[in-house]
Each structure stands twice: as C-alpha cells, then as structure tokens.
Amino acid sequence: MKRFGFLTRLFQKDDSGDSMYVAREKVYPREIKGRFQSLRKLAVFALLGLYYILPWINWDGRQAVLFDLPERKFHIFGLVFWPQDFFFLALLLILAALLLFFVTALAGRLWCGYACPQTVWTEVFIWMEELAEGNRNKRIKLDKGPWTREKFLRKLAKHSMWIVFALWTGFTFVGYFTPVDELAAKIVNFDTGPWETFWILFYSFATWGNAGFLREQVCIYMCPYARFQSAMFDKDTLIIAYDEDRGEPRGGRKRGIDPQEVGLGDCIDCNMCVQVCPTGIDIREGLQYECIACAACIDACDSVMDKMEYPRGLIRYSTQHAMDHKTTHVLRTRTIVYAVLLSLLAAAWVTGIALRKPADLDILRDRNALYRVVDDTVENVYTLKVMNKDTKPHNYTFEVRGIDGARVETDTDTVHVPGGEVMPVAVRIQVERNSLRGGGHDIEFVMISDQGTTIIEPSRFFMPVE
C-alpha cells in the first residue's frame, strides 16, 4: 500500500488540531413570523413559482422558455438565440455579476437572504421538515430520542416529501432543456431516454442533498460569493446590526422594570436571535461572514421588544456609519461606478439584440476541386449555409460582387427556408475564361431576404493558372 501513500496523505485527517473545519453542530432554525420573514416567504413563492411554472407557458405555439440543447437553439419568448449568439449569453452573465456587485455594495447580502436558490430551496425543505417533525424543540427532542414507531413515521413522511419535491425539481430542470410536455408524457409512460433520466436524478439528488442536508454549510464552506462579498462592503453598505450601545449590558429582567434602574441595556438575553438563525451564529458578536442577511433575527428581536414594550430595532438593518452615529451615503464612488458600468452594458446588450440580423450565412467552398472548366466558362462550386434566425419562413436570393459579369447559378431562383432552420444551398459561380487573369480573386456573396435584409459574406474565386 506504500505506493499509494500519497493518496492516503492527500485525504487523511488533519490531526494537527488546527483544522479549518469546526465540528459541525446541527442547526435547528426556529420558525419566526415578522415583516422580513413575510417578505422572504413572498420571494420564495415568486421565485419558485416562476421556476416551476415557466416551462409550461407557451408562446406562439412553442414552449416560451426552452434552451433546446438537442436542436442547439435557445427560445426565450419571441427571441431565438443560436450558438452564434453565445456572445449575448456571456454578456448577460457579466451583467448579472455586475448587478450582484452593485446590489451588494448598496444593500449587502440581499441575494443570499432572499433570492439565492440555496436559501430558497432550503426554506421550503425546512417547511416540510416542520410539517413532518414539528417545531424546533420537537425536532431536537425527536433527533435525541430513540427510534420509535412515531420517529420512524415522521422521518419517513419528511423524506417522502423531500424526495417527491426534489424529483419534481429535477424534472422541471430538464424541462428547460427539452420540451417539457414531451418529457412529462415520456415519464408517464416510463419512456425517458437514459440521459434525460440521468439528469433528472442528478439534479434531484443535488437539490435533496443541498437543501435537506448541507444547508448553511454550502454558504459557509462552498460558496465563493460568501467569501469575496466583503470586498464590496464599505461603511455605507446595508448590514444587519445589533445596537450594542442600546443593548448592553444584556441580562434577564421582569417585565415592566425600567432597565436603567437595574443597570441593564435593552437586550434581555432571551437568545431568540440565535435560535432563529439558519446559520447558527450570534449576531450580537458583530457582523460575521456566516451571516446570510436573512433578517430572521430582526423579526425575532422585534417581537420580543414588542412584548417587553421597548422600541423595535435593537437588531435592525443599518450601516456601519449609522451605527457610529455618522451619515450614510447611498451615492458614493463605488455605487456610481457600478451603476454607470451596469447601465452602459445593459444598453449595449439590448441594442445588440435589437440590431441582430434575422439571417446568417456561412460559405463552404467545394473541397474537391478549386475550379471546373466547361467549354469557355470557369465554374467554382460553393455550399452556402443559409440560416433563418427568424421564427417565420423567408425567401432568399443571391448575388455576387467583385467580378464583373460573374453569373450566379442556383437550382431554384429563390431559396425558401422555414423559420429557425439552416438550409444548405449549392451555388455555382460562372465566369468567362478570357475575362479574368489566372489565380485567386476576392469576391463577396450578397444574400437578400424577402424583407430586404442583406447579408454580405466574403469568399474566394479561383481561375486556372495558364
């Protein structure tokens, strides 16, 4: 086994004692109601609703959003994107990243708390867990207790719900890449192809594992954004903060007692903010990178403050500057630069798509012969790949520029191409033998559509060298 020593060393346990990874204590987030949790719930319904419903919406008799991988075409409502348009997808991803930076600089980790798929799906999985196993205390007790019939049934119920939901998620995911109604019909008949089946199971498994088990560990150990988002933070960024000046010294007290008389701050040390935290941190220790800014602690603390008849906001959305009793600047170099870049790129993206030509042309020269001589005529043969990027059929005609008196011969006068298809067209260009010197000549193909769009594509014409 010594030969494989490097393998065992590679994956062996850290026994140095200063392991990066703390032994994980399972987090049992307590469900809490409040302003921000209602907002998060709304976000969950909106985003997941969009995810599950979108593939079923039709547009012009076709699935509205379909990233048709087998056909190599992306349909997004009325727009069709071809592999040639990959640039727009790349630009869109850059735009999305920039938007994330902008929002982070302005409002902190809004993305993490309200919109990240990891958070959103985890939230739904926790609802199902609550439904099957009860509230936080019941769940802790259940996990500690021995395996009874009830425990078994409750766990079974939870996992059944999780698995069904995960499978539906995986099915929907694949439904974005292959027509969803066909996929549904195939599933009903147990007739899905091997690759479809594989991806449905793969994505379901990922959902189940991430939302059911890994949860906050994805944010803490796996998410790159969580690690570098602090680079976009400054003292004017919206954060969730505990008002230490007001809260300390913390301590328990009876209701109706003036805290100042007993020398206490407003924090009654009820630990509610810790119990509701999905990543299991104590916000009173200051802003930590584990904090996903879900605002559960704000809602928890506000409800306690209401009960104690203290003003709300001991834990609140704030900025470092506000906490230091300074003014917060929403407009600052960082946000302005992000905003300007973002608007410029967005404008470029929209214009680029609006100005896209509805057709495209690729030219392949005949590989076998440079030219053919028939009597006094020299002929070059090309295959033109005519791509109709529009959703409706069009007719195209061809001309050639660069050589005077060159004739363009096609099998039919106009070429009819159905919407969204590529048609190979054989084109012969004929030139009188004496009219041109020998060797290669630059030419341009001009394709004219029935809408008047012209596409120009360069190529070469060859004459025999005497």
């Binding site: 060393r9 204590e25 592999p83 150990y221 941190i281």
Partner: protein, 94 residues
Amino acid sequence: MGGSGHDTPAVPAWLLRAIIIGWSSFAVAAVATMLFFATFDPVVLAQAATFPFELTRFAGYTLGFFMLWALTAGASVISMFLLRSLELHPRRQR
C-alpha cells in the same frame, strides 16, 4: 456555534476537501462546457473523430461535461496534493 442542538458527527476534513474540489471543478466545468459546445456541435465532432461514432447531442453534451469535470477535478486534486504534501513535509513545518 449557536443553537442547543445535539452534536452530529463532524464532516471529516477529507470529505470537506473532496466536496470543495468536486464543487469548484463542477462550476468551472459547467462554464467550460457552455463555451465549448457553443463553438462545436458534438454530432459533427463525433463524425470527424479519429474513430467516427454515432451519438445524440444530449449524450454528447453529457459526456463532454463529465470529461471536462474529470479534467478540472483532476487538476484540482493534483494542485491540492502538491500544496498539501509541501505543507506536510517535516522540514517545512513550523
């Protein structure tokens, strides 16, 4: 750590390393797959291969993705091995 939950077995460090390598290489492979197959059609590639074979696009994308994932994960594992074996080297330890 907060919460008064009971202790579950810690995720062992080697597993976490495997998860981190697996996940980061997954993300990079996904981007590489998009770039690659936006440029090349797997059906045409399979026909033009040294040993031409038939395959559907879906199969081509899937195989291509897993090949890229294997490559990126392989590079990650080697990088980590080199870094870690250096750290674990007796003379390098503080």
